[in-house]
């Protein structure tokens, strides 16, 4: 069964260049090194050929080849969800304040769609450049447990999907930022505060 393409188009060229470079380098090395590095180069070429990196799925990296925004060829997609033990109208009102939206601090937020109590969509611009766009969908949690908020955010990663892999591994990914934003919202809505340890004392100098 052919694997689903998950490399970004820009990445594929990088994989070809990297794979060829590794193989050329390996040709002049002794046996074991030649086999190892050459094999790695071959693997990169194979991924470029299939357009699929098997590490992306476990790392949670998803490419959208047809984003619903003009002039953008493809994006990476972040999806996170949270259940908040508050009524839907209250949760919706919280998100209507654009400073509460995920990654809002990265630019100017424009709301692009508002369906009261159900959905909010927005995009974030910085100096005429589209940083990311996203949506929040709200629905009632089963058993009167409050509101489920589904967040979807799309962006063009700096450094292609390799950059996204690095961000994911170091814990600085948009995925993490969106999840943290949803958690903060839950804490604020459920308790009126978002606990922090910033500024607490320590025995460090």
């Amino acid at each position: 069964m052919p694997r689903k393409r998950n490399l970004m188009r820009a990445d594929r060229l990088g994989y070809v260049v990297g794979g060829v470079a590794l193989i050329v380098w390996a040709l002049r090395r002794p046996g074991l090194l030649r086999a190892g590095v050459g094999g790695l180069g071959g693997w990169l070429l194979y991924q470029a050929y299939t357009g699929s990196n098997p590490m992306f799925k476990p790392l949670g990296i998803h490419v959208n080849p047809q984003p619903a925004q003009p002039h953008i060829a493809e994006t990476l997609v972040v999806e996170e969800a949270v259940t908040i033990a508050r009524p839907r109208e209250e949760v919706y009102a919280f998100w209507q304040r654009s400073e509460n939206l995920p990654l809002a601090a990265e630019g100017e937020v424009e709301l692009t769609r508002e369906a009261a109590g159900e959905e909010l969509a927005w995009r974030t611009m910085r100096a005429e450049k589209l940083m990311h766009f996203g949506s929040l969908t709200l629905r009632d949690a089963p058993g009167r447990r409050g509101t489920i908020v589904m967040a979807r955010l799309e962006y063009v990663p700096a450094g292609g999907s390799l950059g996204a892999v690095l961000a994911r591994v170091t814990g600085r990914s948009p995925q993490r930022l969106v999840a943290d934003c949803l958690r903060r919202a839950r804490a604020l809505l459920e308790t009126g505060e978002a606990p922090t340890t910033t500024g607490q004392p320590a025995g460090r100098r």
Partner: protein, 339 residues
Amino acid sequence: MVKGDILGHEFMGEVVELGAAVINLKRGERVVVPFPIACGNCFFCQKAMFSLCENSNPNAGMAEKLWGYSPCGIYGYSHLLGGYAGGQAEYVRVPFADVGPLRVPDSLSDEQVLFLSDILPTGYMAAENCDIQPGDTIAVWGCGPVGQFAIASAQLLGADRVIAIDRFPERLRLAAMKLGAETIDYSEDNVLEALKELTGGRGPDACIDAVGMEAHAYHDIAYAYDRMKQAMLLESDRPVALREAIMACRSGGTISVAGVYGGLIDKFPAGALMNRSLTIRTGQTHVQRYMRLLLARIEKGEIDPSFIITHRMKLDEAPAAYRMFRDKQDDCIKVVLTP
């Protein structure tokens, strides 16, 4: 942990300042603070599973990576659980103070109520998780402070016999003399054989692991294997007591895990667990659920938790106290630090 972190998750003290929303406490009141930080409003707090509070761990993203989802924040503990400054200090900040801290009556001394902050409820929850029936025999691995309270709690909850397992004579002595438990010294005896014999060939009805990830063992090949894998960073925890508790438990029984585990373990006897219908129950203690109930038991004289204290020291002697506890010098079981 990071160098300079303020330790201490079992503490009590006097209220000196209050946030605007804390209307149930007053300045000057003496309170015991539960170690799990809990908001009181979330799904888990509403179900009285306070140590699973969804709103108190600012580093929840870190915990999710390792554990799938995040439990609550904890004072003076791993940064996975928030890295909150702890109570081994003259002042401590207590978030959600309208939910956690318990006011204690003047009739009881600090030492009688201090352990409501963690280890008494922890031992109690470990025993409660055993679902003790009349006639039951409970085996407890580890006779440190939590193990001692697990033994005492199993007795309070109606266990017929409690068998205590450790290797330090002072701990076994305390379990036997103070609490009347039967004892097994695992540095001398084969625990599985001894338990089988003591329980008429059937095994204890429930087993409490009050040891956790830093277990020790003697003449045990699996232990040498764990040490080796830990040295190579291939395994984070040494589950010697947990494995033994699973193998020892009678069929259909319960293994109650109070000892702390952090990461991954090897050679887990899943076959014994499945084929013999065993149940594992565990968790960081939902302290807030047990504090009032246990305070009432202390007031009625059913238990005086101060019996485990062997040393009283000043806060600035803490490094020496930690060394003494680690090296098990001077029959040290529990140190209480005061500013």
